[in-house]
């Protein structure tokens, strides 16, 4: 079937992965120098959305918590960064950690009570947050500039680098996005990731195994908030201006759409999903201005029907056409059922079912995949 067959963990496999990563990195760095400022601006916007979606993806895909409040955290992060840039002389790079710290704290304060409720009700509580943020921004005029918005100086191009401002913003966002991606991948592989998957697959079983369920959930809520904050900070960098109308209720829906389109339970999916939610409406607008929403909405529905594993699932299937990764034969045969083939891992696995079946064996074997 496939062109190449490698054993997982072998030297050839590692080389293949490193080579792919290198090629992807080179392509991503080369893009801004071979496109136009408007495309670069859009890609920078994609990256700010992607970071926020990554955080939401952790919450939805790994812990099975549906949040509609990610847009609110994105807005808070964007305003925190804008206020710092506009009103203090601090170095502009500090805006991102500041935005992350603010949204982390608010996420924690909100998460501690909110994680008591589940599923639909959590969605409704977070919806309340998403609705509340607009009027509060408009009212808090001394800090936020109210309805008229707030201008923030954009990161200047460093003197030693001969690039245009749009290219610089792209590269800056690329570095931040890559760092956040690595961080998320590490989180999902570490003890937090295992605890999350255990909670998703069976809360009681997780609690019995010593996972502190509510603390883990609240922490994850805060981490998701911090991701939205960093995304919002990147948004402020890219736009140089924030106003309430950039942060409508639809933005929260957009992030959720990006997560689902990208593929639940994958970190890279959020980036693909962000590409979708930024570019599909634009191309739809090119096809027919009046029908933008109709085309966008129909595409969104079609993706749910046709690609239950999301874009990441599609990518994985394509990869399997080229490279076949086989598990190394164990030294001592273990009578353990092999994990299901990845192609069949759709959205279905990624959301908690009411089925209280205990997780079999190591949760990592069931669904952890960066």
């Amino acid at each position: 079937m496939s062109l190449v067959r490698v054993t997982a963990g072998s030297r050839a496999h590692m080389a293949l992965r490193a080579g792919t990563a290198l090629i992807v990195a080179i392509v991503l760095i080369a893009i801004p120098f071979n496109s136009n400022p408007s495309l670069n601006g859009n890609l920078t916007l994609v990256m700010s959305y992607a970071v926020a979606s990554m955080g939401l993806g952790l919450l939805v895909g790994y812990a099975g918590q549906i949040s509609l409040g990610q847009g609110a955290f994105f807005a808070i992060g964007a305003y925190a960064a804008a206020a710092m840039l506009a009103k203090t002389g601090l170095p502009y790079l500090l805006a991102l950690p500041l935005a992350a710290a603010v949204t982390f704290a608010i996420g924690l304060a909100f998460g501690i009570p909110a994680v008591r409720v589940r599923g639909l009700y959590l969605a409704l509580i977070t919806l309340a947050l998403a609705v509340a943020v607009g009027p509060v921004i408009k009212r808090a005029e001394p800090v936020t500039g109210g309805v008229s918005g707030l201008s923030a100086p954009q990161p200047p191009v460093p003197g030693w680098l001969a690039v245009d401002p749009d290219q610089w913003l792209y590269l800056l966002s690329l570095v931040v996005t890559a760092l956040m991606l690595l961080l998320a991948a590490n989180l999902t592989r570490g003890s937090l990731g295992r605890a999350l998957v255990a909670i998703r697959d069976g809360e009681r079983a997780a609690r019995t195994s010593g996972v502190h369920v509510s603390r883990t959930k609240a922490l994850l809520f805060a981490v998701a908030g911090a991701y939205a904050g960093v995304g919002g900070g990147l948004f402020t960098y890219a736009q140089g201006f924030v106003a309430p109308e950039s942060f409508t209720l639809l933005l929260s829906f957009t992030f959720l759409g990006a997560v689902v389109v990208g593929g639940l339970g994958t970190v890279i999916g959020s980036v693909l999903g962000a590409l979708f939610v930024v570019f599909v409406p634009q191309y739809a607008g090119d096809v027919n201005q009046a029908l933008t929403g109709v085309i966008y909405g129909c595409t969104l529905i079609a993706v749910v029907y046709l690609l239950p594993g999301g874009a990441a699932g599609l990518l994985r299937r394509l990869r399997r056409l080229l490279v076949d990764v086989i598990e190394p034969a164990p030294a001592v045969p273990v009578p353990e059922p092999s994990p299901p083939p990845e192609a069949q891992r759709g959205v279905h696995d990624a959301v908690p079912t009411s089925d209280p079946a205990p997780t079999g064996g190591d949760p990592a074997a069931r669904g952890l995949r960066p």
């Binding site: 909110a114 919806l127 929403g293 909405g297 749910v304 959301v351």
Partner: protein, 293 residues
Amino acid sequence: MERFLQVVVDGIADGSVYAALALALVLIFRSTGVVNFAQGEMAMFATFVAWALADAGVPLLLAVLGALVFAFAAGMVVERLLIRPVEGSNPLSLVIVTLGLFIVVNSAAGWIWGFNIKEFPALFPRGVAEIGNVSLSIESLGIIAVLLVVVGLLWLLFTKTPIGLAMRAAAQSPSSARLVGVPVGRMLMLGWGLASLLGALAGVLVAHRLFLDTNLMAGVLVYSFAGAALGGFDSPIGAVVGSWIIGVTEALAGTYIDVIGSDLKVLVPLGIIFVVLVVRPAGLFGSPEVTRA
């Protein structure tokens, strides 16, 4: 005191509009387990149909009736074409389908009727009814009366007719219902049609107050969510009472608490549902979720 009563009655009238849409949400949630985020947009579209009919010279009541029939049919079609294929899959897929529908319907309405604000004719005569010293607007009283009639009809439908019984059976236990010969699929379609009709009713009731444009129901939907969540998402009575509480507190807070004013009054019901959901996640009238360990 007179002013207080007026504010309360206006609040109940607003709450009654939220209640109609909240009933639609609850109806669908009970039968298909879906939270229909597109409910408000479907209602907005139906309201535009009523406006277009009235604009074309059809008498207002007939136009409203036509819109309700349209909404009923459209709701059934949506269930059959969009929801049935993903039924029983994970809740998130359904959420995304309804969000997609939200965007499609909103954009389609703008494409057909434009994005300008339109004036929707009043369903009730202007003026006030004097009861003692209190003058209450006829429109508010009319809206409340319509809601009460609707709740009564729904109650009759669900408790006194074979079709209502079949619908409840299909919602409660599809497999058992199928075994005793209830056409479950058709009952779900009927439920969606009915919900869509209720939403459309909320739309035509509120369109005169809020003026008609493609964002007509966005705010109402949030309040309806709040009302349904407050009352318990699986309880029709809860949806009505919860929506009334939301409507009244919103009106009172906007009138009497100066800091809040009209722009921040949306925070009051949101704060209430936050507290209620955290303290009692099933809502005031809902049945708590029971899981087997």
